[in-house]
Every structure is written in structure tokens, then in C-alpha cells.
Symmetry: C2
Subunit: 349 residues, 2 copies
């Protein structure tokens, strides 16, 4: 399978490393991947015989400008070149997310699907803004759109809702979808420190970003919840349809008080669908020790689906970091190669 990668940041590089490390395992299953394009804004590499990945990783350790790569690097190799030159069967999209326009990823995804190229994207932007349109494009062009990485990385939220709930109707989605805030809440409880102090710890450990707004105000959770709702409940909601509250006001006192009641505060993203009325919220909820989400601590994430015929399903996990994120892209790739039809007309589970 001839694959191209757009974007070569942390996740992109981890994906290349996985292609090296997993080559023998993949070949055993008959999956032979040639990486023939790598595109960055500064230039790209095209090698129709397959880029030497080990050599590439060594090169990019000291040089970020791909156009200087001796075997096929050029500043003229960009997305238009790839679309014109063709030859690629699957694109892995890992450019940075833009939640207002979805660009440049939205254009990349659309054009590739239109050209009959499978797409796996780690980018929430296009998925949250235009999933239905992109899915229809995939269906009409008989290719797949893999989005597993966009809603929890290694945590298989999309797979669980789509594959494990196949044939059942999902009536609610409840999730702890943001590892950073979950880590902060645990730090506050364990070390009896304020929100601000716990946030600083998270930043020092590289768990929270320098600008943590999206995480702590609840928007990262809201974005993931939005994607899950639209994909698994066949809706076309937007962020505006979600009531969103962040975690910044929580105090150690409140956490301690909850603990005495056998409860914990968690930032819960929740969608309830009842007789076609859909209610969505992201807010701190005091959950009971009997709740399967109660024990989801630290950087862990989880989602709980409620269904009519298959009961409840809680999925906990989602190792953080670029390797698990890249591994979730590889998982989509393998499952597409195993024939799974992720992109269908009807999407309800």
C-alpha cells in the first residue's frame, strides 16, 4: 500500500517510527506499506519506490527542511504536486488543527477523498466541521475515512461506538475525554493543592500545554463529544449546541466534601438522546463510586455508551503521547486493510 503523510510533527514522526518497528508484523498480515510522500509546509519528499524510513529518521533528527533530503526532497513537492502526480492510495493527515476553518486539513481531506484516496486524519478540525460531507464524499468515492485518532487517541471511542455497538441504538454517551483536566483533578485531591498549583504541575510535566485554555475551559472535551455524537448518533450538531463549563472554579474543599460522600468530581462530556431530542453538555459532575467512570484517574480517559440491546459499555484507557496517537492511526490503517467499511450511508453504530 502506497501511503503519503502530510505533516511531520510529533505524531507524524512517531507514525514513521511505528512503520519501521512494525514492518515485520505488518508483512505477516500481508500489509506492505511504502511511504512515498511526506509533505511539510517547507517542502516535501517524493520517492515512488518508497522512502527509506530509517534514513529519513536519521536525516530529520538534525534537519527540519525536507526539501534538502537528498533522495527525492524538493521545495516544489507540495499538496498540489501530490494530487497531480497521484500514485498514492492512502493519506495520513497530521497537520495542526484549526477549529474555525479546518484548514489546510479540510482541503487536503476533501481533495484526497474526491480522488479516491483513503484518508486517516489525526486532525479534529475537518471532522468536527464537516464530518457528514466528508463521509458522503468517502462513500461516493468508495474509500474510507479513518478518524479514530481525533476523539481520544489510543482510546478506541469511535470503534467502540461504531463496531462494538453495531446493531444497537446508542442512547447516551458519557465520557472523560480530556486527560489534562483529569490529571489536574487527581493532583488537587492527592496533594491537596489549588487548581492553579495543579495546573502548573501539569504544565511542568508537559501534560498541560502552555496555553491550557482549550483543555481547562472544556472545549477539548466538547470537540471530542461533538465528533462522537455526530458520527455515532448521525447528528449534525455544532459546538454551539453544547453547554460547556470548564473546571477552573473547583476547589480542594469541594473535592474533599465529595470524597466524604464517596464521590469524585470529573469533567464529563455527555450526550443524551431521547425521542430524537439531543442534549449535550460538558461540565464537572460529582459521580458516585459505583459509576464505572469513577476509577478513571490520572491521565486516563474513558467513554461509556448506553444502548438498547447491548446494554452499557465502558471503555477505559487511552495512553497519552505521540506514540499511542500514531498507533491509533496505524490501527485505523490496519482495520481499513482488513476490509472494515467505516464510511457508510447510515452511521448509527
Amino acid at each position: 500500500m502506497r501511503v503519503g503523510i502530510i505533516g511531520l510533527g510529533g505524531v507524524g514522526r512517531a507514525f514513521v517510527q511505528l512503520l519501521i518497528d512494525k514492518r515485520q508484523d505488518l508483512l505477516k498480515e500481508g500489509i506492505d506499506i511504502q511511504l512515498i510522500y511526506i509533505l511539510k509546509s517547507s517542502g516535501g519528499i517524493h520517492d515512488s519506490e518508497g522512502i527509506d524510513l530509517q534514513d529519513l529518521m536519521t536525516f530529520t533528527k538534525s534537519e527540519s527542511n525536507l526539501s534538502l533530503y537528498p533522495k527525492g526532497g524538493s521545495e516544489n513537492i507540495d499538496f498540489d504536486y501530490l494530487i497531480e502526480k497521484k500514485g498514492v492510495e492512502m493519506i495520513v493527515e497530521t497537520t495542526p488543527t484549526n477549529k474555525e476553518t479546518g484548514e489546510p486539513a479540510l482541503t487536503h481531506v476533501k481533495k484526497c477523498l474526491q480522488q479516491g484516496i483513503h484518508v486517516i486524519t489525526a486532525n479534529k478540525g475537518p471532522v468536527m466541521l464537516a464530518y457528514k460531507e466528508l463521509n458522503t464524499l468517502a462513500v461516493n468515492n468508495k474509500v474510507q475515512l479513518g478518524i479514530g485518532c481525533t476523539t481520544g487517541g489510543a482510546l478506541p471511542t469511535i470503534n467502540s461506538g461504531m463496531i462494538d455497538m453495531a446493531g444497537a441504538n446508542i442512547t447516551s454517551i458519557r465520557g472523560i475525554l480530556n486527560g489534562t483536566t483529569n490529571f489536574i483533578l487527581k493532583e488537587m485531591e492527592e496533594k491537596q493543592i489549588s487548581f492553579e498549583t495543579a495546573l502548573k504541575v501539569a504544565q511542568q510535566l508537559g501534560i498541560a500545554e502552555t496555553d491550557p485554555t482549550l483543555d481547562i475551559q472544556g472545549w477539548d472535551t466538547a470537540t471530542k463529544l461533538l465528533i462522537l455524537t455526530n458520527v455515532l448518533m448521525d447528528e449534525e450538531k455544532t459546538l454551539k449546541d453544547i453547554y460547556v463549563e470548564g473546571v477552573t472554579n473547583i476547589t480542594v474543599d469541594e473535592i474533599n466534601k465529595a470524597k466524604k460522600e464517596g464521590k469524585k468530581y470529573k469533567l464529563i462530556g455527555k450526550t443524551i438522546k431521547d425521542k430524537n431530542i439531543v442534549k449535550m453538555s460538558v461540565k464537572l459532575e460529582k459521580i458516585d463510586y459505583r459509576d464505572t467512570l469513577y476509577n478513571v484517574d490520572d491521565k486516563n480517559k474513558a467513554v461509556k455508551y448506553t444502548s438498547n440491546t447491548l446494554g452499557d459499555l465502558t471503555v477505559i484507557g487511552g495512553a497519552s503521547g505521540v506514540t499511542p496517537a500514531a498507533a491509533s492511526i496505524l490501527r485505523d490503517l490496519i482495520n481499513i486493510k482488513r476490509g472494515y467499511n467505516f464510511s457508510r450511508e447510515i452511521h448509527k453504530n
Copy 2:
């Protein structure tokens, strides 16, 4: 898709009911199921136009002998008739389990796969005794073998290990795989009653069987662990390779003592694979409150996989009863129709 059912007990009947209830949802996805055979030991029904399911359900409420069914019932319609007459694309096998010989299901599954018929089985016997052989038959005849129902019913243990861990190596499997013993342990703790009394409660509620030996001696857990290990770790183990201890010796005192330490006793089925050495056990383990299996109480089941690149994944759920079991058969059917290649040469995740 023309389907035949072998066995029409609780799960078989619940499956027929689901085909009625879910017909419109399935049609929306382009899945049009005609049930053209139903076989029981006393006789069967064959209607190449598709059996009228609502009519059949009414008929079988008061009559268990299918050969008396006016539209296509006959005592001459048996498995040999089905194989000779053909016309079926998928068989759903729901005959009672025999763990020594696997029969008659083993013959049914083998012959159907050899004839190029997809098989979904709810029957642990053939899967625990001959999975590798059956998988090879499926691969060679380009059909699928669905076994999701055999290792936890609604709990998607096989899907999680195979699909959600695709591309990662599973290094350990730990599961609470038996709802009956888990219910008994919760009853003992909550009501402060002995094992014997809790077992009686479970029997009165229809949760434990009249002969509960397989559950409480750990053999049901061992069987499921064996299937998961062989399928997901590409092993060919047998029950003899598992160290099995039941739950019958546990006392309320021990449970209370554990509780004071923040721990709970759970019947854990466990496989650890380290450098190709596989260790398997089923026994009561005192697990810590931070363990994601800690909160799996009552009739719930769960499995936790550890992997190299995708981290840990815990899946909790598994509603009990014939409808969730039937829904897990329907789930396999849908995922096969969606193209997933469950039966491959190499099976590691």
C-alpha cells in the same frame, strides 16, 4: 443475505426477535436478512423465500416441534438436508455446548465453512477445542467465523482485542469473565452472607444455574480465557494449561478484611505473555481500588488488555441474558457484512 439458524433455544429465539425488531434499521444499512432455515433436533423449517418470522414466533410459543410448522416444516429437514440443499450464505449456531467433543456444533461449523458458508457461533465448544483449525478452514474458503458471543456475550472481548488493539502486541489479558461469581461476591460483601447463601440467592434469581459447578469452580472463566488467549495471542493452549481455582472457599471475613485495605476479591482470569512464555490462571485475587477492574461489580464483566504501543484498554459491560447474547450475534453479522476480515492467517490483534 440468506441465513440459517441451528438451535432455537433462548438465544436463538431472541435472535429471531431481534431480526424482527431491527429489520428497518438493518435495511437502512442495506442489510436484508432472509431466514430460510431453522433446525432443531426434532425437525426443521426450510422456506427459500424467507420464513415469516412474526408468524414463526407465534407458532413456537405453543409448539416446540418445528416439523409441525405448516409453511415448510418437516422432520426430514436436518443439517444434512441444509448442506445438500444449500442456498444459505450464513449459519448461526446456537446448539448447547459440549466441552469434551464440541459436537454436534463442531461438525456443523466445519462443514459450513468447508461449503463456503459464513458461521457465527454462540457455542464455546468448537472454538475452545479447534479454533485454529476452524480459522484456517474459514481463511481457505474465504468466509468469516464470528465468535464474539463465546467470550462474554454483549461484552466485546474479541472485538476489543482484535480490532481495538490492531497493530499492537497484547502482553497480558486480565478479566472478570463470569457474571455469576461476580454477583455472588457482591452479595457476600453487601449482605454479609456466606458463599453458600449467596449462591442460593443467585440460583433463586436465575443468575446461577441449578448445577453451578462450571461457574463457581472457575471453568467458565477458564474457557473464555482460553479462547481469548488462543485467538488474540495466536496460541494453541488447552484447558490443561490453565491453573484453575474456584471461589467456593472465600469467607465474609476475608472479604471484610480486604475491604479495610481498600481491596476486593475478584475471580480473575489472567494470561501473561513474556518472551513467548505464556502463563494462564483463574483464581480469586485481591485487587486494589485503583485497578480499573475494581469497580466491576454485580453481574458486570470486564476485560483488561495490556499492549506495547496502544497502552492499556479496559472494557466493562456485558449485559446478561438472551437478548444481549443474541445482539452480540447480530453485531458479528453486521460487522461481517461491513467487510471486516475476522478470519485471517495471522491473528495477533
